[in-house]
Symmetry: C2
Subunit: 197 residues, 2 copies
DNA sequence: TCAGACTAACCGACCGTTCGGTAGGATCGA
DNA sequence: TCGATCCTACCGAACGGTCGGTTAGTCTGA
């Protein structure tokens, strides 16, 4: 009884979110007005408030989605079982794929600065994520499976800076697939650019 | 006769720029009001316009400074002479050091999205910089000094994404020096994280 | 007929910017 | 030496415009 073809409403919180995230990523959250959002969605400004409580809720929905996707990777078997170095490599690869799969949402998350409550909450969850990955890198160094001459915290920061930077240029309609990026990135991180002698 | 001790004015375009860049980096350019800028500088909003033409000029001054510093590295002997792989490594290291040395300005540059004229001009110069670095990577691959199985454009993007990501977490008053970051980064890029057998 | 999707008109607050005016050191003619 | 004059740095008040959000009501399909 719920699924009896309602009126083909043009907008849902979900569809508005998709539009909003795209506009936020182009103009920036602060640089985007509700009027612009409305125009992009083909609706009037006031109509947006029929579906969502306001601008900040759209941001909160977006970054929550991105964070849920990233944290999900940490709870998968590949991130929980086996040698730390393998788990580290798995998380790096998996995060990269998640970023590409969920590109607009993760991109928005990575640009959050902490001006609003939603942003500050997102930053806190991001810190938690970074912390868990740094622990993984430290464990791999302790196992002797990563170079001991590089500080594990610095390593974790560099590696995830590298992963996150993909959001700055990756385009899903481009020639490069997410798999290709994840492979190149994993190979670069583990083996470097120099040919093995 | 001109240099006879003038009045000790509290503000110059230069000092306002330093304040503005710091505030822009915390709140974002769009998220910063002239009132906030004025409060941070200890001056009234209207007084700012005595020194600079407006908000966008402050942004333009900042990103121009950052870009000039980065391009200067490309014209140094280390980036012009010798094997391509060495020039590539030199530019990576040099860019990293420049980022750390000029942190607030480069950070602001890296966050520019293209909403205003000043931002679009900056993005264009950034693209030019990236292009020249990608050429360097391609030349090094052609020489057989970088792994041929990774696409040089992808490589250049990843490596400079890595360098740029340093701006997200580096703090000059922290325990890590710019030299340390540059060394770790150069070593990671060339040799990877895996211990050499 | 009635609930829900939607809109035009509007609100107070705040935006970047401008303007008229002022304090006070520098300059200069006498 | 001293008053008149000028200039630079600065300020308070206000501008037109835009912001995110609200209100009161219309339209529409079942």
């Amino acid at each position: 009884m719920p699924a009896v073809a309602k009126r083909a409403d043009r907008h849902t919180p979900e569809s508005l979110l998709a539009v909003a995230v795209d506009v936020f990523n182009v103009r920036g959250y602060d640089g985007t007005s509700m009027e612009e959002l409305a125009k992009a969605a083909g609706i009037t400004k006031s109509s947006i408030y029929h579906h969502v409580s306001g601008k900040e809720e759209l941001l909160r929905l977006a970054v929550t989605r991105a964070l849920d996707g990233l944290f999900a990777a940490l709870d998968e078997p590949g991130a929980l079982e086996g040698p730390a170095v393998d788990r580290f490599a798995y998380v790096v690869r998996r995060t990269c794929l998640e970023l590409v799969r969920n590109l607009p949402y993760v991109t928005l998350l990575l640009r959050v600065r902490g001006n609003t409550g939603a942003e500050r909450d997102a930053l806190e969850r991001r810190r938690e994520f970074d912390h868990r990955v740094a622990d993984l890198a430290a464990a791999a160094v302790a196992d002797g499976d990563l170079r001991p001459d590089l500080d594990p915290r610095l390593t974790a920061r560099l590696v995830f800076g590298l992963v996150n930077s993909v959001a700055e240029w990756y385009r899903p309609d481009g020639p490069v697939t997410g798999e290709t990026v994840a492979d190149a990135l994993g190979s670069l991180v583990l083996d470097g650019l120099r040919p093995r002698s």
